[in-house]
Amino acid sequence: MLPASCAGARTRKAVRPTDALAHELGVRARPIQAQWELLLELLGRGDFDVALNGIEAAPEKERVCRLSRPYYAAAERLTVRRDDAGAPTDLGALRGRAVGTLPSSLAERILARAGAVVRTYEGGQNEIYADLALGRTDAVLLDAPITRYYAEIDPRFRVVDGAFGEVRYAVAMRRDDAALAAAIDDALGTLARRGVLRGIYERWGLWNAETATLLGDLAPSTSTVAEAFEAWRAAVGALPPFLTRLREWYPRGQALFVRGALMTLALSFVAMGLAIPLGVLLALARTYGASPLRWLATGYIEFMRGTPLLVQLVMLYFGLPELGVTLDPFIAGALGLGLNYAAAEAENYRAGLESVPAAQLEAAWALNLSTAQAVRWVVGPQAVRVAIPPATNDFIALLKDSSLVSLITLTELTKTYVMLANATRDHLGLGLVVALWYLAIGLPFARLARRAELRLGRHLRTA
């Protein structure tokens, strides 16, 4: 569970266990963004072959995946506020107190057994410690590496002496990947024997007694400077002034935002490309269709509007594989957004169709046009102009809602922001940057739509 910023700090020497392991196996690691508590779910789904990110080696996990030999061990550490005189300092004192941690972790189970009021956070470690600082929780129980990186460097916190349990990290693979598991076990053995793992851990300031025992490497430490840890501490310890960030940090970070923006745009356009034709069909079925067709369209619209988009996305991505349909993340994301927004579009178009007086349809009938011809040539063109403003609104909402797909491993603008902000703890400044990105995408579109609306309405001007 190394901080996200490590990804950028590459040197010749392997800096992360992932890189060392890939090198040993003779493969290239392609990292995939995912929520930590969903890692095993996504692994089983086939989104990636190996999950290596602080996966706890616990027997119950063997039911859903195959675990390698542990490659790291650490204590569970308790952090409290330095100025909190009544802070809990042992397990017994945690009963009834609000304590933050990560969901589905060993720490959570320890806290539950101790009778603490457990608060778990989906977002990441920053929020857990932020809530402790604000007094929303009385303590935080997390693995030693996280404690080291988030609590020890912060003067507002005090880390309680002693271990509250020991956690071991292992590599997770699918249950049927026996050959891969054997290879990874071999590679981890080699890396431990050659001291490669130890080198990495020392560099990050994470070498500890538990891991020394685990790897059977009890020699005293040779290197005393954890350079990578010091660099991290220097980086997050003091945020440079805003103007410096504006001049130096943000321009360098734009490549990541460009990637995120392209993903947001691609998702939104593909989803809208699906939502518009489907919305037209639904609106026509609901307005002019025979009763069964009308009921079907109404049912679809009410279901899609009445249930959360997040639920629909999770059903598409994690539910469909139960029926044997496994979708690519981008396709699942675009499909989920498109199917959902089709319902909203259908209602916009229906409002447009119904804004055209019924007598217009009769006038077309009186000229012997069929209903289909009347809709195509008389009602439809008049409805489009009315439907443009709400449809524009929905497209901009879609741009923003596309952030929900970060749940299914896609990294778009919002996810880019959250990851960068968590790594640098610059939530305000980067928030402004990402807001500008959204505006830069949304505003030209709104302008374009306004012009189309004026153009379609030019026949209504009387002078």
């Binding site: 000229l367 012997n368 040539w377 008049q382 209504l460």
Partner: protein
């Protein structure tokens, strides 16, 4: 030519709107129907234009005869009248997103599959005949009430109807335009189309009408001079 025999209209569960309606209008002649509000004048026009089914009687055109089958549930058959009978709505119902010319060519092109060139040639001729030669490209919103009414007439005539129906042609217009409406009826008469004008203005077509009727209490009777 339009020949109507023993026409009856019943809306579900209500007494007949009208029954036993019979009359005839020869090609190139003008008839008027007067009557109080709610007498069923508009319903009669809608039956004749094929917008509403009727339950008894016959409507006959030179090329077409529609006989009611008496079955309330059957909602077809009367639709065959559409296009053969032109209807000028009280509210005109021009298509606001289309120019005067485009209003007139839409149905001939889509229904009769006439080429755009032929449809536009005929539409230009009709507009010119009705004094709108210079308004072909104008959108309805830019036209006066009288001009709009003439576009609606040209749009109906473009389908070569045997008869043209008007629903209260003076109601939406300034009273000073009454003479203009009469002049338009006179011009359309020269095309040989039969015309039926529904109006509450009993003297509108004096000196022009070949026959005048009154619709009252569900029955159509000739108006006494």
């Amino acid at each position: 030519m339009l020949r109507v025999h023993d026409l009856e209209h019943v809306r579900d569960g209500a007494p007949p709107t009208f029954s036993g309606v019979s009359f005839e209008i020869a090609a190139g002649s003008v008839a008027t129907i007067a009557g109080a509000s709610g007498a069923g004048k508009t319903t009669l026009l809608r039956c004749l234009a094929g917008l509403e089914p009727f339950q008894r009687g016959t409507i006959e055109l030179p090329t077409l005869q529609v006989v009611a089958n008496g079955d309330h549930r059957v909602r077809r058959g009367h639709e065959r009248l559409r296009g053969h009978v032109g209807l000028v709505f009280q509210s005109l119902e021009l298509f606001p997103h289309l120019s005067a010319l485009a209003n007139c060519v839409l149905a001939p092109m889509r229904v009769h599959r006439v080429s755009r060139a032929d449809a536009e040639r005929r539409a230009h001729a009709l507009l010119e005949q009705l004094g709108l030669a210079d308004k072909a490209d104008a959108f309805p919103a830019r036209l006066s009430g009288g001009q709009r009414q003439r576009v609606a007439i040209a749009r109906a005539l473009a389908m070569h109807p045997s008869v043209l129906l008007y629903d209260e042609p003076t109601s939406a217009l300034d009273p000073s335009l009454r003479a203009e409406v009469v002049e338009t009826l006179r011009r359309v008469r020269t095309t040989g189309v039969a015309q039926l004008v529904v109006t509450h203005d009993a003297t509108l077509a004096d000196g022009l009408a070949d026959a005048r009727f009154t619709l009252a209490a569900g029955a159509l009777t000739p108006t006494a001079r």
